[in-house]
């Protein structure tokens, strides 16, 4: 529990909230401090101006009648107690002449001649029931004026109430700031706990996936906030990983299954060659066939490798602007003689003047795979057509049609999966990867791969034929 607590204190969320709580407390401290400075200053200024007025009065009486008048003025106000002000008139010898203060404060006046000090309220001057318990130390503020001929006069005000109020205010402000800090931290802990708990749930999922269980998914609250978005991305990533894992497992099984046959055949041939006695020619023949089998196996491996790279998006295909008509024309030229040799009539209809973004090598490979299939499956006397055109919706479409047996509706979605070979193709050479490769190449180009019915006429003894179309978006105009 303690370890968890310590871990919690290290979380970013907690640190962030701690920081904002501290900033909030500082801000409230500064604000209240400003209020304090303003009101404390106001209280003292009011006292000071009252003192100034009284000094002016006394100055006036000094001007009118000299020190005696001042003395009388003070006596009139202080005898009997209850004076608003504090006074003390001091003889040049240092003796107090009149006033309700007993002695002159021994405090250096500031620039404006003001002093602030603590005094003890004279017990006699008041109702007399004051007890000298030391609690009667009070704060006074005033001015000391040097009169001509050595007399000194103090005029002041009791500001005890005011200063007490101000210091209480200061205490309150400090307490409030501390409280703000404490509340901020508490709120921060609360908020970040919630945040951390949600993160924890995502981390738990990640740990379980790491441990090998691909089932769990991060919880979502569908508010679309950052964490929800994180969960969503995290989940779709897991979906993709799961699909890839599944495909990998499937591929692994298929590879094992598909390679067993040629490997067994090769093993038997080599074994036979070993046991063959004397006959050099037939031994050589067996070895040659074994080499051919090996080549076939390596071909399958290479196809798997290219396919995996394409599907994993690792192949940095060199996509550039190209004229699909060039690509189509090159392939037509490559395959026309092949078709004719096989007794097929070959036609190409190529529309020019289009531009697409593509990798010439990959596109050619995809088309070559389809043309290979057309040649392989169309019986002699049939026809193969390569066509390039712009479709109604502005796509660039390469299509190859043949008059072979075609692919039944129900199998069309299946044939682009790896290692899927239809029953009637089992006798022909091939790895079952050709159309998977076409699909992967089309995907790399953001295109579409469609299989449909060909132009064959079944009644003529041909198959329905196959139409294989690769559709790609037209390249955006160049700036």
């Amino acid at each position: 529990m303690q370890a968890r607590g310590a871990a919690f204190l290290r979380t970013t969320a907690f640190r962030q909230t701690l920081l904002s709580a501290a900033l909030f407390a500082l801000a409230s401290f500064v604000t209240l401090g400003f209020v304090y400075a303003a009101s404390a200053g106001m209280v003292l200024r009011r006292a000071d101006s009252a003192i100034n007025e009284e000094v002016a009065e006394l100055d006036a009486s000094f001007q009118a009648g000299g020190i005696r008048t001042v003395n009388r003025y003070i006596l009139e106000r202080t005898v009997g107690g209850g004076a608003d002000y504090l006074y003390l008139l001091v003889h040049p010898s240092g003796r107090s002449l009149s006033g309700n203060l007993t002695y002159l404060p021994d405090v250096q006046p500031d620039d404006e001649g003001r002093v602030q000090f603590t005094y003890r309220r004279p017990a006699a001057g008041d109702s007399g029931d004051e007890v000298d318990d030391g609690k009667d130390d009070r704060t006074a503020r005033g001015r000391i004026i040097d009169l001509p001929s050595g007399y000194r006069l103090y005029v002041g005000l009791d500001v005890d109430e005011e200063t007490r109020l101000v210091s209480r205010m200061l205490n309150t402000i400090l307490a409030a700031s501390a409280l703000a800090l404490a509340l901020g931290v508490a709120a921060g802990i609360f908020v970040s706990r919630r945040f951390v708990r949600r993160l924890d749930r995502i981390n738990t999922v990640a740990r379980r996936v790491k441990a090998g269980d691909l089932q769990p998914r991060a919880p979502r609250n569908f508010t679309g906030d950052e964490l929800d978005e994180l969960s969503e991305n995290f989940n779709s990533m897991l979906d993709r990983v799961e699909a890839l894992m599944h495909r990998m497992r499937h591929t692994g099984d298929s590879i094992a299954h598909d390679l067993r046959t040629p490997l067994t055949r090769m093993r038997n041939r080599l074994d036979e060659a070993l046991r063959e006695e004397g006959d050099r020619a037939s031994r050589e023949q067996a070895l040659e066939r074994a080499v051919a089998d090996t080549d076939e196996l390596l071909g399958i491996f290479n196809a798997i490798l290219s396919l995996s790279r394409l599907e994993a998006g690792e192949s940095r295909a060199s996509i550039q602007r190209l004229d699909p008509a060039d690509t189509a024309a090159d392939l037509a030229e490559l395959y026309e003689p092949v078709c004719e040799d096989d007794g097929l009539s070959f036609n190409s209809e190529i529309q020019s003047g289009m531009t697409m973004l593509g990798d010439r090598g990959l596109l050619s490979q995809a088309l070559a795979n389809i043309l290979d299939n057309a040649v392989k499956y169309t019986p002699s006397g049939g026809a193969v057509t390569l066509r390039l055109r712009q479709t109604g919706d502005g796509m660039i479409e390469f299509s190859v049609t043949d008059t072979g047996p075609g692919i039944p509706d129900t199998d069309r979605a299946r044939v682009t999966q790896r290692f899927v070979r239809l029953d009637n193709s089992r006798t022909k050479p091939g790895s079952g990867l050709g159309l998977s490769l076409v699909q992967a190449i089309v995907d790399v180009h953001n295109g579409r791969f469609e299989l449909g019915e060909g132009p064959g006429v079944v009644a003529d003894g041909h198959g329905a034929g196959l139409r294989a179309a690769l559709c790609f978006p037209t390249a955006p105009a160049e700036d």
Binding site: R309, A317, Y335, P337, V338, D341, D359, G361, D372, P429
Partner: protein
């Protein structure tokens, strides 16, 4: 020919070495890029066969270092990878040809011999002659026994490649790569079909055949 094989896989290296020796070449072996670079600098080789992935110094760095020294010895890069962009990378580093593992020995031999030929003084040839077959590269005409043979543009390029490598074996993959610029293997025998078309034009009407099929390897044009 003197050939240096730079390959960290001893077994693969001895397989190539044995084959090259049987074909009448001298073959040395270096086990990594650093050793290969040293040996290539110390002696004159006609062709270097360099594996791409090696410890200490990989093949591409080694070729780059050689090219930086202005050493123009033809290099065949061997690679276990095999995508088009890997090939482009290899050629950019200074390789002259690129062969993906696994390969048939005949393929390697044909490419090594073709590379050595490329090294011949590079005078710009305007005329190729093999026996009584003549090709004028400027007028783009082909004549045999004084009789002009009409070829399609691709057939012309195919014949040009064969004539430039006359006396040597060229493989189907080489033709597909160099004449058509395709780096994949079609399942159908496209190259054989094109060769037989060419053959029917340049050989059939004449008593002596120039274009020979080399079993298990490819084709050879020879007088």
């Amino acid at each position: 020919m003197r050939i240096l094989i730079v390959e960290d896989d001893r077994e693969a290296a001895s397989y190539i070495r044995k084959g090259l020796r049987e074909s009448g070449h001298v073959a040395d072996h270096a086990g990594d890029g650093e050793e290969g670079l040293e040996m290539a600098r110390a002696a004159e080789y006609d062709v270097l066969v360099v594996d791409r992935m090696m410890p200490r110094m990989d093949g591409l760095s080694m070729v780059e270092a050689l090219r930086a020294d202005d050493d123009r010895t033809p290099v065949l890069i061997l690679s276990a990878l095999g995508e088009v962009d890997d090939r482009v990378e290899g050629l950019k580093a200074g390789g002259d040809d690129y062969l993906v593992k696994p390969y048939a020995f005949a393929e390697l031999l044909a490419r090594v011999e073709a590379l050595a030929r490329r090294r011949d003084p590079d005078t710009v040839r305007t005329k190729l002659v093999v026996g009584d077959l003549e090709m004028d590269l400027l007028a783009r005409t082909v004549v045999r026994e004084g009789e002009e043979i009409l070829l399609q543009p691709r057939e012309f390029r195919l014949l040009e490649f064969l004539m430039k490598h006359s006396g040597q074996v060229v493989t189907r993959t080489m033709l597909l790569e160099k004449v058509w610029d395709y780096h994949f293997d079609p399942q159908t025998n496209v190259i054989d079909v094109h060769i037989s078309r060419l053959r029917s034009k340049i050989d059939k009407p004449f008593p002596r055949s120039l274009l020979h099929t080399v079993r298990g390897a490819g084709y050879r044009l020879q007088a």
